[in-house]
Symmetry: C2
Subunit: 283 residues, 2 copies
Amino acid sequence: MPFSRTAIIGIGMMGASLARALKKHSLSGEIVGCGRSKENLNLALNSGFVDSVTSEPTEAVSGADLVVLSAPVQRLEGLAGLLAGRLQRGALVIDIGSIKGKMVSDIQSLMPAGVEFVGCHPIAGSERSGAGASVEDLFNGAQCIITPTKDNTEEMVQKARELWEALGSRVRTMDALEHDRLLGLVSHFPHLAAYAMINAIEDSSEGAIGLSGAGLKDTTRIAMSPSSLWRDISMLNRENIIPAIEGFIGELEKIRKHLKEGDSEALEALLRKAEIRRKSIEG
Amino acid sequence: MPFSRTAIIGIGMMGASLARALKKHSLSGEIVGCGRSKENLNLALNSGFVDSVTSEPTEAVSGADLVVLSAPVQRLEGLAGLLAGRLQRGALVIDIGSIKGKMVSDIQSLMPAGVEFVGCHPIAGSERSGAGASVEDLFNGAQCIITPTKDNTEEMVQKARELWEALGSRVRTMDALEHDRLLGLVSHFPHLAAYAMINAIEDSSEGAIGLSGAGLKDTTRIAMSPSSLWRDISMLNRENIIPAIEGFIGELEKIRKHLKEGDSEALEALLRKAEIRRKSIEG
C-alpha cells in the first residue's frame, strides 16, 4: 500500500468519498476520519468508510503519512497551523479544495521540515453534502488539478499525482493563481449564476419554477449546493469571479440587443457558436 | 382506441416521441408520419414508430381524427392554412410547441367547421434532435400545458387533456399569453443564458470549458440544443424574454456588488434564498 495511515480531516461528502475511494483501491492502511459532526463521523465509521474516528485533528494525524485537509476552505490554513507540530516526517499533506491562490504557499510555509503540502483540486462533487452523500467512484474519470510550488520536491508532487491517477482521475498541474482564475470562470461563477437565475425567475413570478422542465432543472441543479460553502469560495476568489460575471453580463446584453433589434441572424450566430463550443466537451 | 388515425406532421425528436408513446399506450390506430427529412421518415418507419410515412402533409391528414402539428413553431400557422381544407370533421388538431401566444387563436380561426385546434405544450424534451433521439417515455411524468381559447368546446379540451394524461403527463390549462410569459421565464430565457455562459467563458479563456466538472456541464447542457430552433423561439417570444434577461442581469449585478463590497452576509442571504427555492422543486 502506498500509504500506511491516512488522516482525513473533514469527513463531509468530499472527504468521505476520498476515504471510500482509498479503501476501494487499497491505497492506504488504517484510515482515520476526523470531523466536528458526530453524525458524519458515526455514519463514516458504521458504513466502513473509515477504520476509526476522532474529533481531534491533532490526534488524527499522529503517525499518518497521508493527511487530507478536507475541511471548509477558509479553515485550511488555521488547521495546517494547528497540525504542523504533529505531522510525521515524510508525510504528504494535500487538500481537495476549490480555491488555491496564496493559501498553497502559506500552508507550505507552515509545514515542518520533511513534510510537504501539495494543493489538489479534484473537479468532482455534487450539490449534496455530508458523508451520507459520498460516492466511492466520485474521482473516477474526473479531472484533478495539482498546484505545486517551488517548495515542493518532484518526488512528493509525483506521489500526489500517482494517488489521483490510482483513483482514476486525469491529472493536470497548474500554477495556483492560474487555477483560481480558470476555476472562477468554469465553476465558481456558474454557481453564482445558477443561484441568480432561480432568484430572478421567482422574484419575477413566484412559483414559476414549478413549471421547470429538465432544462431549467439541469441548469440550476448547482443552486442546491450549500450556500455557505459558495459564499466562502466566492468571497475568497472574488477578484476572479467579478470579471467573469461582468463578461457574462456583456454576453447577455448582446443577446438582449439582438432580440430588441429583431436581428435573428446575429442572434443565431451567437447561439451557434456556443452550441458548437458546448458540443466540443463531453457529457 | 381513442383515435382511429393519427397524423404526425413533423417527425423529429418530439413528434417521433409522441408517435412512440401513442403506440405504447394503444391510443391510436394507424399512425402516419410526415416530414421533409427522408432520413427521419425512414428511421421512424423502419423502427416501427409509425405505420406509414409521407412527405405530403395534405395526404397525411386525410381521414385522421388526431392531427399533431410538430413542425418548427414558425411553420405551424402556414401548415394549418395548408391543411385546413383537408381536415376531417370532428378532428382534434394539436401542436406540441414551446410558444403559443396569438398563434393559438390564429390557427383556430383557420380551422373548418367541426374541427378544433387545442394548443398543447408538453414540457419535455432534450438537447438532441431528430427521430433517432426520440424517447418513448418522454411525456411520462412531465407537465403538459394546454392553452384553450373561447372557441374551444369543453369536449375537445377534455379530449386533449385525456390524451396527455394517458401518456402519464400532469396537465395544466393556462391562457396562451400567460403561458408565453411563464415559459419565457423558465425555459426560453434559461436556454439563452446557457448559450451566453459558454461564450462568456470561452471568450475569456479559450479552452477553459475543458476543465468543466459536472456542475458546468449540467448548467450548460441545453446550450447543445439546436441553435436555429432557439433563435426562432427567442424571436417569437422576445417581448417576454427581454424582461427575463433584464431581471437576471439585475440579480447578477447584486451579486457583483456584494462581492465588490466584500459583503458576505448579503451574498449568503441571496444564495440561501435561491438554495431553498431550488430545493422546493424535485430533480
